[in-house]
């Protein structure tokens, strides 16, 4: 029985490739595939094949597909924060720090690793989740954090005690979210650039 000879022809001619960081490869493949095709439409086998990783490795690193999806959402949020902080460094005044949020979304739209822009990956994933799913809450948290960043920098633009900072931040948040959605449908960042201009004018009018 031990010698059922199934596969694994006793090495010697197949020297076995070296160990690799399977988790990172899986997250990378998942990022590409989930974004491009959607979560439900992307099977486990497709991901492991694309990652060049054994199926067992997936289940060594993640308890289930749902957990991989959760890690994917987490990674998208972290990725955006990275893009944003880079844009924030370049900003030289409060107004530019507000607009850095918009620039970070444009950078996201132009990220090289995704072939074909299809809108916000987090929102797209949320669209596939049923009403009460924890993933939807994670996406909501992300959007609220973005709005919080907007609000913080809007408050620096407005004269102290102006009282409309939160309202303006919300206005900008809706504007950005909508432009992102439309940009995703059109497959390019034109809407995002347009909405950045609108946002700049709103800030100038204050």
């Amino acid at each position: 029985m031990a010698a059922r000879d199934t596969g694994a022809q006793t090495a010697a001619h197949t020297p076995m490739p070296p160990k690799r960081p399977a988790r990172a490869l899986l997250l990378q493949a998942a990022a590409r595939l989930f974004y491009a095709q959607g979560v439900a439409a992307t099977g486990i086998d497709t991901i492991t094949t694309e990652a060049g990783v054994a199926k067992k490795s997936l289940y060594n690193n993640f308890a289930s597909k749902a957990e991989l999806v959760a890690a994917y959402l987490e990674a998208r949020h972290a990725e955006w924060l990275g893009l944003y902080s880079r844009r924030l460094e370049d900003a030289r005044n409060p107004r530019e720090r507000v607009l850095a949020v918009f620039d970070a979304y444009t950078d996201h739209a132009n990220a090289a690793y995704l072939n074909g822009f299809r809108g916000c990956g987090l929102l797209n994933a949320a669209a596939e989740l049923p009403a009460g799913a924890p993933g939807r809450l994670a996406v909501r948290k992300h959007k609220e954090e973005v709005e919080g960043l907007l609000a913080r920098h809007v408050a620096e633009v407005l004269p102290a005690g102006h009282g409309r900072a939160a309202g303006l931040a919300r206005h900008l948040a809706f504007l950005l979210e909508g432009a992102m959605a439309r940009a995703g449908l059109e497959g390019n960042d034109a809407c995002l650039k347009e909405c950045r201009t609108i946002a700049a004018r709103l800030l100038a009018d204050v």
Copy 2:
């Protein structure tokens, strides 16, 4: 062979229910299920069971699931136009006609047949479709038509030759789209009402 007795116990005790408009029942069930669970997550059998209709009837009326999805998208667009035209009738001036677009989305969010608001059904469906899919184009067309309606009524609000009608319409379109997305994540129409207020102020400031 003709008498293999498989199922269909020769009627007499099962008098067969009367003929019903299967197509409409299917579209109704698809509307509920596709919206609540997503397109890919909803199987053919679930739809036919929910509709109380035979599987054959589905394939009598639609060549494939993809065609049912296309009809679903079409129906959502038509439904929104209906909601909008009702709101349009109540509007008494150009400004109210612009805001009627916002009200139509609020009505959509509060539509009784969907248990649990989850955002724009068209946008959610688009999120499941790969980049080049015809369904995505249909959704984009819908959004452009909505923006066109906005633009038409914005032009009536602005003084002739103002030149910023298209720009304002686009601003409002992004605002509305973003509020809808956020509202979907939060499961209620609060964001939509908020964005209607923002829109009203924008129109007042012109």
